[in-house]
């Protein structure tokens, strides 16, 4: 619990987000004995990131001009910067993508006297600074935080959510229609796609322990694309989902396509993940993804 001065300096910078990542981090309290916590306004009264920070975690998306300023300043003072959570990777639930009407009404409502101005979108960190390690998840589990801080190079992360889900994929249970995201009674132990749910666990990065799908909630893709889908065009991911649903169900292709189009995708392809990643951003290699 004590933080002797010779331990490496550890800082947590929160941009525009919900504090969920911080709350998750507080539940993996082992870091407390390995680091000297020098900056984390949620728990410590400090208003400045000091020099020579060994590890800087940045949570939240870039939403205001002040966020850009703080992010650049933090980057310059840290040896290693870890982008934490879906917002830091993609802008998260707060990004607008192609929802122009929502963007307009938001921008109109977001100006105050002598207050930071809002940018036209919530941006990922690597649009502004170099990122050394990406830790996706909404939020990442405490276990993933520990892995990121201890030994990310040798981490063994499940390639997709299905690997950790434990629900069985059946050949003879082929729904004829989409059930939705979540409605009605979910049968235990059987793959959610076999039950007609729009689950994107087949193309979503594992490592979360399948926290949602095991109790019966479709995966919404908060951990983002699995390695084969990194830096790919969104069409590539859609194709993959189409293939999965065609192989496992008897749902007509028109219905699958309609489901995979807006607004059903507003949640998991438009808002939560970086599937629709901006192609002008730096390539995210699998070595840098946790």
């Amino acid at each position: 619990m004590e933080t002797p001065k010779d331990l490496p300096k550890f800082a947590v910078l929160q941009l525009s987000g919900c504090s969920g990542c911080e709350v998750s981090l507080l539940n993996s309290d082992e870091w407390i004995s390995n680091f000297q916590l020098v900056y984390m306004p949620l728990v410590v009264t400090t208003h400045k990131i000091p020099e020579d920070v060994e590890v800087l975690l940045v949570t939240g998306g870039v939403r205001t001009d002040e966020d850009i300023h703080n992010l650049r300043k933090g980057r310059a003072r840290a040896r290693k910067l870890i982008a934490v959570g879906t917002c830091a990777l993609s802008g998260g639930v707060a990004q607008f993508k192609d929802k122009h009407i929502a963007r307009e009404s938001f921008i109109k409502a977001s100006h105050r006297l002598r207050m930071p101005d809002m940018l036209p979108n919530a941006y990922p960190l690597d649009r502004f600074v170099d990122v050394d390690l990406y830790l996706p998840g909404c939020p990442p589990t405490p276990e993933l935080f520990l892995t990121a801080l201890k030994d990310p190079e040798n981490a063994k992360i499940a390639s997709i959510v299905c690997q950790e889900c434990g629900r069985q994929k059946l050949n003879d249970m082929r729904p004829k229609h989409i059930t939705g995201m979540r409605s009605g009674v979910v049968l235990p132990d059987i793959c959610l796609i076999n039950q007609g749910y729009v689950c994107v666990g087949t193309s979503t990065r594992g490592g979360c322990g399948a926290l949602c799908t095991r109790p019966g909630h479709a995966c919404v893709g908060c951990r983002g694309p699995a390695n084969p889908h990194l830096n790919k065009d969104p069409e590539f991911v859609l194709d993959n989902l189409r293939r999965v649903f065609t192989r496992m169900t008897d749902i007509p292709i028109e219905e699958i396509n309609a489901t995979l189009a807006s607004p059903w995708l507003s949640l998991f392809l438009g808002q939560f993940t970086d599937y629709t990643q901006d192609q002008s951003l730096p390539q995210r290699t699998k070595e840098k993804m946790l």
Binding site: V23, L26, V186, G216
Partner: protein, 437 residues
């Protein structure tokens, strides 16, 4: 005119306090939220049934309350009532949220103020003995973790939970898991009461040292728990008048007749008032509006509180003490509920999606939270979130003014003002992410 800006820490989100002083007179004390989240904009056009996954992201600290309020708003729209077992499991979930939140506010956010330390982890550098402080911090985190574990147990995961669904919950709680949780609570309940006692003692010492418990002007109070049935999965809002008499109660459908929410020019958070007057929500409001909590240890603390400070009690530092009472209550109540059978019976009812307007109310740690949705063609046409922190905005401003006046004198502006500002804001435990939804 001098304008002093105090950045804030140990609260959720980005906020600051701005105080204008001229000629040793305080003109303005403002509490400003510095970002806007904008969920009301993002969720337009989203399929109604998906909104329950999106809106917990309003806040990672109180995601549980948002998830339950969201599900309740859609159940109201669709006209369905979940089975009693599901309601009990949701209550366990909300108790977990209350434990996690009150433990965070008590120990991580405000205990350092009582020891003049900058954080819970640096208490050891303050005046009191190192060994004692070490176990304090460790025990505080253990108590907080009970709340987290309860949310995981009843909600599937401890941030942005998923087990509460339209119509009920996805599954019950097995005897084995319930027993394991009961064992942990039994083991740690004495630790929690000891921490609450220490906190109480430190608060009394701080009150003596400062010579004030902060703004104590009689005020209206707002809560949705009942006087003798402290249920967080609540149904109606209640208001207490400044003199302690109960004014009225109202259904969440009628909230606009009683609570007026307005935008603020200088802050991204709105400001609400009760019939044009200052109102307070959160722990002190609930405790003022409670006759009995119904669990033995918590009722002993409640009695002690009322005997010592009266009823209604008004000074803002009482918010902190009331969080301690609620922490003990939530631990005891969770244990009581887990002792019942939460495994067998219907956990959900089926439903047919319908268009219409629905309201969902829960008593969140910071006060009554209402989600209001308008559904058209299965999509969200508009969504409104009535946020507890916003109810407290006027009360926070007034309390800051009281503090500022105390520390600005003809001799100048006291250095103590910065600490006072932190204590005032933290007493209300504001949540900026929620307040700027």
């Amino acid at each position: 005119m001098t304008t002093i800006t105090y950045p804030l820490s140990r609260i959720e989100g980005h906020a600051r306090v701005v105080i204008d002083v001229h000629d040793n007179e305080v003109f303005r004390a403002d509490f400003q939220a510095m970002e806007i989240r904008g969920f009301g904009h993002y969720v337009r056009g989203v399929p109604a049934e998906q909104i329950t996954v999106i809106v917990p992201r309003i806040c990672g600290v109180c995601s549980t309350a948002h998830q339950v309020a969201s599900v309740k708003a859609l159940e109201d729209t669709f006209g369905i009532t979940p089975p009693p077992l599901a309601l009990d499991i949701r209550e366990v979930l909300l108790l977990g949220q209350l434990i996690q939140n009150q433990a965070t506010s008590l120990f991580i956010f405000t205990m350092p103020d009582r020891a003049n330390a900058s954080s819970l982890f640096e208490l050891s550098q303050s005046e009191t003995g190192k060994a004692r402080e070490f176990s304090l911090a460790q025990n505080a985190l253990r108590i907080r973790k009970i709340g987290t574990d309860l949310i995981s147990l009843a909600g599937g995961q401890f941030i942005h939970p998923i087990k509460t669904v339209i119509g009920g919950v996805t599954s019950g709680i097995t005897r084995e898991k319930a027993d394991r949780m009961i064992q942990t609570i039994q083991e740690l309940l004495p630790v929690a009461t000891e921490l609450v006692d220490i906190y109480w003692e430190m608060s009394m010492e701080m009150g003596d040292r400062i010579g004030s418990w902060g703004d104590d002007e009689p005020t209206h109070y707002l809560a949705s728990t009942e006087a003798n049935n402290f249920r967080l999965n609540s149904q109606r809002l209640r208001v207490m008048q400044p003199d302690g008499t109960e004014a009225l109660s109202f259904d969440p459908h009628d909230f606009e007749a009683y609570l007026q929410v307005a935008e603020s020019e200088y802050s991204y958070a709105g400001v609400s008032s009760y019939m044009g007057q200052i109102v307070r929500a959160n722990s002190l409001a609930r405790i003022n509006l409670t006759e009995s909590l119904g669990t033995p240890r918590a009722d002993t603390y409640l009695k002690r509180f009322v005997q010592t400070f009266g009823k209604p009690a008004h000074a803002i530092m009482f918010f902190d003490l009331c969080r301690g009472i609620e922490l003990v209550y939530a631990l005891e109540k969770a244990q009581q509920m887990l002792e019942c059978d939460l495994e067998h019976g219907d956990t959900e009812v089926g439903y047919t999606p319908k268009d219409g307007t629905g309201f969902g109310l829960v008593e969140a740690p910071r006060g009554p939270l209402i989600h209001r949705y308008e559904v058209e063609n299965g999509l969200i046409k508009s969504a409104d979130f009535v946020i507890p922190t916003v109810h407290n905005m006027l009360a926070i401003r007034r309390a800051l003014m009281v503090a500022a006046k105390r520390y600005v004198s003809p001799e100048g502006i006291s250095a103590e003002l910065e600490r006072a500002v932190g204590r005032v804001v933290r007493a209300f435990d504001p949540c900026i992410a929620c307040a700027t939804k």
